[in-house]
Symmetry: D3
Subunit: 156 residues, 6 copies
């Protein structure tokens, strides 16, 4: 039976840190669905459409990665998609406490769910979407935080 | 001499996690005052009046629990109420660092204060008012996070 | 292709916490190898043979769980067994820091390795082999920490 | 009804950190029982008799503090003493994770138990019995870590 | 060769905690530049001009402390000022995780940078600019959190 | 005036992690004294003489690094050497809590002391002397954890 994992997040933008988690996830799962949670009240750096476009461009040669957007609870999304696996990366102890809470909440909402955690490699531990946005706001260069071949300017 | 503890918070809304702390606190103190801190600049999920109503409904058979609202510093509230005891629940290491800071600040403002900490039971560790609000915003079911007998919809 | 995970540890003894990780792991992997690391210089509560026996008894109806003992580095064991996946459970931030170190060390020794982390469910977070050993030393009852059907006394 | 708390530990030796917890505890409880856990296999800096003597000398004017020794599980001691309250001090996040585990284990062994946590004041956060023992082994002066009036040399 | 450290922050307002870091930094460096990062979109308690004035008033007898404002990335500021040293204080594990991230980001942007960390003394660990602002909003007295001789009201 | 830092530790053995801290320290201090604390009751992997030899071999071209051994308290060593600066590296939150305790203890014993903390670079975060010893005990290859040019076998 094919195994599918949902990799939920805002991905505003998708970074090398996210890519490192999906790369590891692809060795574990047959398919990884990058699920972009949309918050209509919050304007991001990238529009939802451009977040999708960036990730699809990155994985255009990897048919096992799909990209979708969703509104509402991740626990409900997993039910609709018919898979119990959530994939998440962890960088530090603050992430750990956050992920443990999310896991417990998700399981209260959908007892079938299993959260699978992978470590972000040490060289990408400091990279987050919010630090990328902040560096861009200050006119800095984020190319070393982005997946190779992705020019973030094209999507902003 | 009767011992009274103040249990300060926003309680927007009061959850099973809060209830588990007050339940333990009632074995320790003669009276627990649930003190709802009001921030006039911030609109919550529940109005202050409805937060009070929810907690009063929950404890209508427990005369040892009182519910009040307050503005300003908790350290000043404790002085006005004439009790040195603050009651707080702790869920994880992020809470721990926050509570330790609050304790030190409160003691600088009112050296009489003693902060009494109780563990949130493991099954309620993931429950917080903010996660309840988020799940509601996404249309999820929060009944398992609320004290038995409390229908949150009545107070929103 | 079948996916196999190594679940390394001392398992002196195997507890409900370990079982909860393997149970989740079986939904993710085709096979889980419980690999008991043997330290000849350290006398445990259970002999290596009895640790194996306990785990085999527990999984006698689950052919997808294998039990082996090994000496030496886990990174070398993974190479010999021909699988890149290490399965580990995490309970708290102290575990997190330990597991992150182990992951980085293992990857320095065997760059193929992927460490897959699963959360220990909240109700088993306090259970560890060392706490079981300590409670037994003090004459306490550990039956609620052991997998159902396992009578630890038979293996000591 | 009088409220009694058990303050369990090794107290080898009792330090200013311990005293600060008991001082706060006395405002909360009618009686605090300092319960010295004896591990017959481990030789300490102070004999159990001298640990008792030091603490009794310190509280000779405070009849609300009792000192006892015990072997076995704290959860059983609480049952024998007929009190559900364990008193513990917390210094940092490593303590937090340890205490949360202990609380959960104790509750599995004795569901009546409530663990009451107090913060060690910031100026005593670094003081532990093990650091006192280490400083003494290196010939250092520990008088600032001991309660006023206690000359540790008399008890070694 | 003279050694200069940049002490970056918002300093809204500068507190005893900041002063304790700079005091230690002056024993290590020949010169400390307090660099006030300006975020034009965020209105603070103090205007940038008044933040500068407060810090200059405090150090009017200490020519080795300079005060500047800057916009943009700290990594770029360090390049412009020609010094590789960033000075930062740390209070707790949440600060630690934040500072480690900042260090790694800064080094990706400017590989020359060295982040030098000093502990905030225990008695000032709870003091932060945001807690000072909150206490003021609630009408509390923050004089014990401010450096001696500084009357915060003059700068608001 | 020349500034000297003491870098205290067991260094059994000295690793790339230690080297990365001293390298950063040399940009900050005029001289770094690597101070090997000797515990006569504990037999290590390397003799004290060989620990000294390894570090001296590594820095034979760097006259600003000295290597000494000492017994007793680091706070006393600093007094004897006439320098107030202790240099320490930090890898994770467990290190952070340990270092904060040490800093506070050292300052109680010698109020002149300033502990200067530097981050271990992310790629060396998992390396510790104890992990090197464990890998060697299991027959693994530690060359990537050792400073370039150092063949650990020569010193064992």
């Amino acid at each position: 039976m094919k195994k599918t994992a949902i990799f939920p997040g805002s991905f505003d933008p998708y970074t090398m840190g996210h890519k490192s988690v999906v790369d590891q996830g692809l060795s574990l799962f047959d398919r990884v669905i990058v699920a972009i949670g949309i918050n209509v009240e919050k304007r991001g750096l990238l529009t939802p459409e451009n977040r999708v476009a960036l990730i699809r461009d990155l994985y255009h040669d990897e048919p096992r990665v799909e990209v979708i957007t969703y509104e509402g609870l991740t626990a409900d999304l997993a039910r609709r998609l018919g898979t119990p696996f959530l994939l998440r990366g962890m960088r530090n102890t603050v992430d750990f406490e956050f992920e443990r809470n999310m896991m417990q909440l998700n399981q209260a909402l959908n007892p079938e769910l299993t959260t699978v955690l992978l470590f972000t490699p040490p060289e990408y531990v400091a990279i987050s979407s919010s630090s990328v946005r902040e560096i861009i706001a200050f006119g800095g260069d984020v190319s070393s935080f982005m997946p190779p071949g992705i020019d973030l300017k094209k999507y902003i």
